[in-house]
Symmetry: C2
Subunit: 274 residues, 2 copies
DNA sequence: ATGTCTTTGTGAACGCGTGCACAAAGATTG
DNA sequence: CAATCTTTGTGCACGCGTTCACAAAGACAT
């Protein structure tokens, strides 16, 4: 999951709940597949199964868009594809810039799922002068200096940040200053943006960490009996009071020493207090 | 947002809400940054700002883990890093396989954020025999035939799928059969898995689509007046009854024509079984 | 035209997550 | 030791999202 809506407390834009908006692309994908198989209509039950959701939820979601179904029959696939596309704004062309052409940026540039949904990669930007001119995904990488010209010339309003964490905020600020109002952030940092700018983030390692949590829980349940977290580790309830005081000794031995190392990003200490 | 927990209706494992679990990695990242700057303690206010959340929410989240703060002072950074790491299961080593070494798979293999969090890339797998032996991220790509040996030898319980959509379910089934119980899916498909297997998905294009929705809404608001979706388009309320019948005509004119084209998309399978 | 059968659309209940606001707890100062 | 100040931990209320369950609507058969 790419998590994270930032700002805009409970945006229920035009009556369509955020949760529903987040599912529309899923329905669209399932519908597109049906469309390619020339399936004329689907029931909410079938479509829900294809999209991996509850059928009641799907019907309620669609009810926010209007009454597009026919009782006793189901939904017309083509028509629904069009309605959802329009609702999501995919009937128009969205020029996009990708900033930071490292491994991930290059992968994004090559990703077919963008172009097929109306997202046109207008430019690939990188701060490294050595990258300039290099072709990635059949398109020359351009230097950051070109950013302003590119964005204004193409009318770009959506930017993708795939830079290292350290550069992300700076890039973000520049994009926003140039009029970009939607940002998809792959850098592991919290971006601060002014009111009116939407940020969504995708953090690859966060997803793995969430899986690890559940994995640990599963392993713990089958190994030992109780609901304990890790087997053979003291329960988390105990070290309440001694926490803060005891911690004073920690930095000496532990992770503080690691802070010198220039790792790829933040990480977990090898040794810990208490 | 990489969204998407599948299965497990309302998993509140061991009393820690899912929403809280999803935020722990964020806190951890912020705390690690503080740790590297040798900051000894933080208040909930400061940490919340660094993690991009509400301070009340943060305190409540931490309260599920136990009472790790000191009133009037704040939280001990090192200690909290340890507690969260342990809770997430990051104090142990998680061998991971990445299946599908295309652009994205290669980017994932090179991503530093995994290794630094206790995730060890045990192997890179690809179905293409031509890829076998090629070094990616300083590690030879191995053929799918090796999958069983690799997984059992390394005790892999987490798999990352970065294959084209068409191959994802098949790969998933094989992983599950070999004992993998957590899957991070980058392929744009809904994976069906048996009870007890966790799937999280990251769909790059979904995030962009959600941004496009909001972007369209923003544009619509400033251009025309009303809360209408796209300017100069009939409101969605009208075509209620004629929806299904009229839909037959829709594909001709509208974007429905798009369905025919077999895009460069890695996305929807061109053909698929019923 | 009438009745039956299928499937939508939605009212209502429930549960989770969020945020407020404050009491309790400890540090700190005089 | 008492008073004050800071910050945590949480009870409570509210709103969003999910799910159930059913009436309304239309297709289809007779």
């Amino acid at each position: 999951m790419a998590t994270g809506r930032t700002h805009r407390p409970a945006t229920r834009s035009r009556g369509i709940p955020e949760a529903t908006v987040a599912r529309l692309p899923l329905y669209l994908r399932a519908l597109t597949a049906l469309s390619e198989r020339s399936v004329p209509t689907v029931s909410s039950e079938e479509l829900a199964a294809a999209a991996g959701v509850n059928s009641a939820k799907l019907r309620k979601d669609f009810s926010y868009l209007g009454s597009y179904g026919t009782r006793g029959v189901g939904y017309d696939v083509e028509y629904l594809v069009y309605q959802i596309s329009r609702e999501l704004g995919l009937t128009q062309d969205w020029p996009v810039v990708i900033v930071g052409i490292g491994n991930l940026g290059a992968a994004l540039a090559n990703y077919g799922g963008f172009a097929s949904r109306g997202f046109r990669v207008a430019a690939l930007i990188d701060a490294d002068p050595a990258m300039a001119g290099k072709p990635v995904a059949g398109m020359p990488v351009q230097h950051t200096d070109e950013l302003e010209r590119i964005i204004t010339d193409n009318g770009v309003s959506i930017g993708v940040i795939a830079t290292p964490a350290g550069a992300a905020q700076q890039v973000c600020d520049r994009l926003v200053a140039l009029g970009v109002t939607s940002i998809l952030n792959f850098a592991p940092t919290v971006l601060s943006v002014p009111e009116g700018v939407d940020v969504r983030k995708v953090d690859l390692s966060i997803e793995l960490q969430i899986l690890a949590f559940h994995e640990q829980r599963k392993a713990g349940e089958e190994t030992s009996a109780g609901p304990g977290t890790a087997p053979a580790v003291s329960t988390p309830a105990t070290p309440a009071t001694p926490a803060a005081p005891a911690a004073g000794a920690a930095p000496a031995a532990g992770p503080a020493g690691r802070s010198g190392k220039g790792g790829p990003d933040g990480d977990v200490p090898a040794v810990m207090p208490a």
